[in-house]
């Protein structure tokens, strides 16, 4: 549960506490942003802009007791909004370019010693993910990678829990290779 004194210090502009907040939450924002575009610079830019906005708007943050970690959800919300705005400016890279970036930055092939057949499977999964709309992709990443609950994702995306879960079901249908069979 979030401590009220911690929030109070953040609102007072305490930089030590703000730095702690950044250390705790920047990796997840980076990971989330990276998974949306597989671009390291894009992910860094999102982290930077998100925490600047967190700093500027912390006074307006209100604890939502329905969520386990309302501060985390709020930070994700800011990041998601920024990502959505920024993605509109960019053309989607093609499957090959995005896959190359994914391999480069996740080292999945090196770390797991995956052979050629397996890498083809990963590539197929990746292409299916790349074809998802930005909203579905964000939901996929928040649910499966960031492991947020449907309630938390609903708060971030300003939708109902039911809508989020329906979307997850549809994602399962679209990501056949990932959900039916995997390495």
């Amino acid at each position: 549960m979030i401590e009220e004194s911690y929030i109070k210090n953040l609102k007072a502009g305490n930089m030590n506490d703000f730095h702690k907040l950044y250390e705790d939450y920047s990796p997840m924002i980076y990971r989330f942003a990276f998974s949306m575009r597989n671009d390291k610079n894009f992910a860094e830019d999102v982290v930077q802009e998100t925490f600047i906005k967190v700093y500027k708007n912390i006074e307006s943050f209100k604890i939502d007791n329905r969520l386990e970690n309302p501060l985390k959800s709020w930070i994700y919300k800011i990041a998601k909004n920024h990502i959505v705005t920024e993605l509109k400016k960019f053309k989607k890279l093609n499957d090959t370019e995005m896959f190359d970036e994914y391999i480069l930055h996740t080292n999945c092939i090196e770390d797991k010693g995956i052979n050629l057949n397996d890498s083809e499977k990963i590539k197929k999964i990746y292409e299916e993910v790349n074809r998802l709309s930005d909203k579905k992709r964000a939901t996929f990443n928040l649910f499966f990678v960031e492991e947020l609950t449907a309630d938390e994702i609903a708060s971030i995306m300003k939708e109902g829990r039911g809508t989020i879960l329906k979307r997850v079901q549809r994602i399962r249908e679209e990501l056949k290779t990932l959900f039916e069979e995997e390495i």
Binding site: F51, K56, K112, L178
Partner: protein, 321 residues
């Protein structure tokens, strides 16, 4: 779906190589620290505004501004219903709000635009506005900025170094001149000195170019678009074209090369013509490509790229047959 089913769905993919590989994406401490420095720099700017930090600068834009003078005050007298003068205090009444102007150091002010916009050429004015039911738009303008009254007391001080605004009570919004510049809302005890346009613009340019060199294309594009809104520079438009190409936004890149074609001459123009033709070809506009090549050869028969373009044109026309 119940909460139990939700958990089961999540657990079902815990062994997923793909998902676990994304979970393993690392934000290295080096990159974390690099981004943190940028955040601190930006948040310090916010703090400086709030703690009355002085920013040095000059300004260049907008029309000249004048100050209050006894002679102009006579004009004001006839325009307003009631006006009084008491030593250095000139009280203007406009539409129910009383605008008291004190401590005037320079003599002339010219009243314009429904008597709601006051120009300050040089010197200091203290503005005290009594709130009324009908909020009127009251504005003090200098060459550096427009300061819009939102029910407050504030000082505007214009000298050779720039325009400083101090808020004593209430709230004002300051609009620095220059496209793409943020405005600032100042409250009690806040002040700001507006950076001169040319210094701000130069900063925007150098930050954009630096970001481009560091391959931080989204930041570079943001900054350089703002620069381009205010001033044309061949180097900057070239960078914007290349950033667009990086993003595979060829139509945007073509737009930038066309700007260079319009505004440049010599080799720069020739290069831009060739680049735009190649991009038109990439997006499938063959007709347009041929037209640009033909235009090039007509204007630059002995140009830098004329033999290459002749060959490309021949190939294009043959493939069309």
């Amino acid at each position: 779906m119940s909460y139990k089913d939700e958990k089961q769905l999540l657990d079902s993919k815990r062994d997923s190589l793909y998902i676990n590989s994304l979970k393993g994406v690392e934000f290295s401490q080096k990159d974390k620290d690099k981004v943190w420095e940028k955040i601190v720099a930006e948040t310090n700017k916010e703090k400086n505004i709030k703690h009355n930090m002085f920013l040095n600068f000059r300004m260049a834009i907008a029309v000249a501004i004048l100050l209050i003078a006894i002679t102009t005050f006579t004009i004001i007298n006839t325009i307003f219903n009631q006006s009084t003068i008491n030593q250095n205090i000139i009280t203007l009444k406009t539409g129910g709000e009383v605008l008291k102007i004190e401590q005037v150091e320079i003599e002339r002010v010219e009243v314009a635009n429904l008597k709601e916009v006051f120009f300050l050429d040089n010197g200091k004015i203290n503005v005290s506005v009594t709130p009324s039911k009908e909020k009127k738009h009251i504005e003090i303008k200098t060459v550096d900025a427009s300061i819009v009254v939102k029910g407050t007391i504030f000082n505007v001080n214009k000298d050779n170094n720039g325009t400083k605004v101090d808020v004593i009570r209430g709230k004002v919004e300051v609009f620095p001149f220059g496209k793409g510049r943020d405005s600032y809302i100042l409250e009690k005890d806040m002040s700001i000195t507006i950076e001169p346009f040319n210094i701000w613009l130069e900063k925007v340019k150098s930050e954009g170019v630096e970001a481009y060199k560091n391959q931080n294309y989204s930041v570079a594009e943001k900054k350089l678009i703002i620069y381009n809104m205010n001033e044309y520079s061949y180097d900057i438009v070239s960078i914007l074209a290349r950033v667009s190409e990086q993003k595979n936004d060829y139509k945007e890149a073509i737009k930038y090369y066309n700007i260079i074609v319009e505004r440049s001459s010599g080799v720069k123009k020739e290069t831009a013509l060739l680049a735009s033709a190649l991009l038109e070809e990439r997006v499938g506009n063959i007709k347009r490509t041929i037209s640009i090549f033909e235009e090039y050869l007509q204007n630059y028969p002995d140009g830098v790229f004329s033999s290459e373009i002749e060959n490309r044109l021949k190939k294009l026309k043959n493939s069309k047959k």
